[in-house]
């Protein structure tokens, strides 16, 4: 069974925020709730790095461990989903989550936060796939349509990857290898990609 994962290639992420608006577009998430966000570290300084982050669908999801009503569940694809009918809006998942993924429609007095909302990996919720109730609570269910999360599909530089964990980590390691190979030696003055092949082998 495929294990679904997100991966953000920080060498490519340019903080264009397409992932955020794609998500809003697909799920009609209200103003103030952001299932995904891009964080730029060292903004405006050397080493500036942007990374897109949402619920990472952790294997040992802290949110699931801390939820007092046990409203989280895991799909066969490793996607962490939750049942909004069970959620009591206590906010514990938000305190536990390393990535700040859980969002609450309101932050009112007396802990009145509303039902938690978070990235579903575009996999909907416990309701029947493509039902009206599912859309209203969780947004669209792309996975059930055979599509991957829209944020990754629309990423402007293909920095954000989503899909089968093995596939995307392969893709990413290929990129890393490619980058290492194409790093030129200092002062060699060539931009040629130093990929090993027959030509290199026989020095043709």
């Amino acid at each position: 069974m495929a294990r679904m994962k997100f991966l953000c290639d920080d060498d490519r992420c340019i903080e264009c925020n397409a992932c955020i608006t794609a998500c809003k577009n697909e799920h009609e998430v209200p103003w103030g709730v952001n299932r995904r966000r891009v964080v730029t570290i060292n903004d405006g300084q050397s080493g500036e790095t942007s990374i897109s982050v949402a619920c990472m669908h952790c294997s040992d999801a802290p949110c699931a461990q801390v939820c007092p009503v046990d409203c989280f569940y895991f799909t066969d694809d490793g996607v962490v989903l939750h049942d909004k009918d069970l959620c009591i809006g206590c906010g514990y998942c938000f305190y536990a989550c390393p990535f700040g993924a859980p969002q609450f429609p309101q932050d009112g007095a007396f802990g009145n936060r509303g039902k938690m909302d978070k990235c579903t990996f575009c996999a909907g919720g416990p309701e029947e796939d493509h039902s009206e109730a599912e859309f209203e609570k969780y947004g669209r269910n792309r996975l059930a349509e055979g599509k991957l999360p829209l944020c990754a599909e629309m990423c402007s530089t293909k920095a954000l990857l989503a899909g089968d964990g093995d596939v995307i980590s392969n893709l990413f390691s290929q990129r890393v290898t490619q980058r290492q190979l194409s790093q030129e030696e200092p002062d060699s003055g060539t931009a040629q990609v130093k990929l090993w092949g027959w030509k290199t082998a026989y020095k043709d």
Partner: protein
């Protein structure tokens, strides 16, 4: 003083500032100021500041203190409109047509100057004075 774009907005920005999915991401007109200049002007990040141009225009915007700009340079995005010299013009829009986000237009302080061949306007270099609002 120079100007440029933001990824969330386009052109004059009326269209994109009316799109809630985009507008939520940039809710305030700002001016990027180098920390050194900000300290000299006595302005902190997030405070309101007057940016005054040499031809009489002035705008009240949020100070965004950052190293993105070097010393002696301030940067402003040009997509905002709907405020004019510190005044909010929201009630002047036809009902229900005001963009979600309004802000000062940086071109209120940008100045005269045109290319000799094409009459291109000068929006990338001008001078300004910063003052805490």
């Amino acid at each position: 003083m120079t100007s440029g774009r933001l990824v969330e907005y386009e052109g004059g920005g009326d269209e994109t500032r009316s799109n809630p999915w985009l507008a939520e991401l940039q809710q305030q007109m700002f001016v990027e100021i180098n920390p050194a200049d900000a300290n000299n002007a006595g302005v902190k990040h997030g405070e309101q500041v007057w940016v005054e141009g040499p031809e009489g225009g002035k705008i009240k915007v949020m100070a965004f203190v950052t190293n993105r700009v070097g010393r002696g340079l301030v940067f402003m995005p040009f997509h905002f409109a709907g405020h004019y010299q510190g005044k909010d013009l929201r009630n002047k829009y036809p009902e229900g047509c005001d963009p979600y986000i309004l802000g000062e237009s940086c071109n209120t302080v940008f100045t005269y100057g045109y290319d000799s061949v094409t009459a291109m306007q000068e929006t990338k270099v001008s001078l300004c004075r910063l003052q805490k609002a």
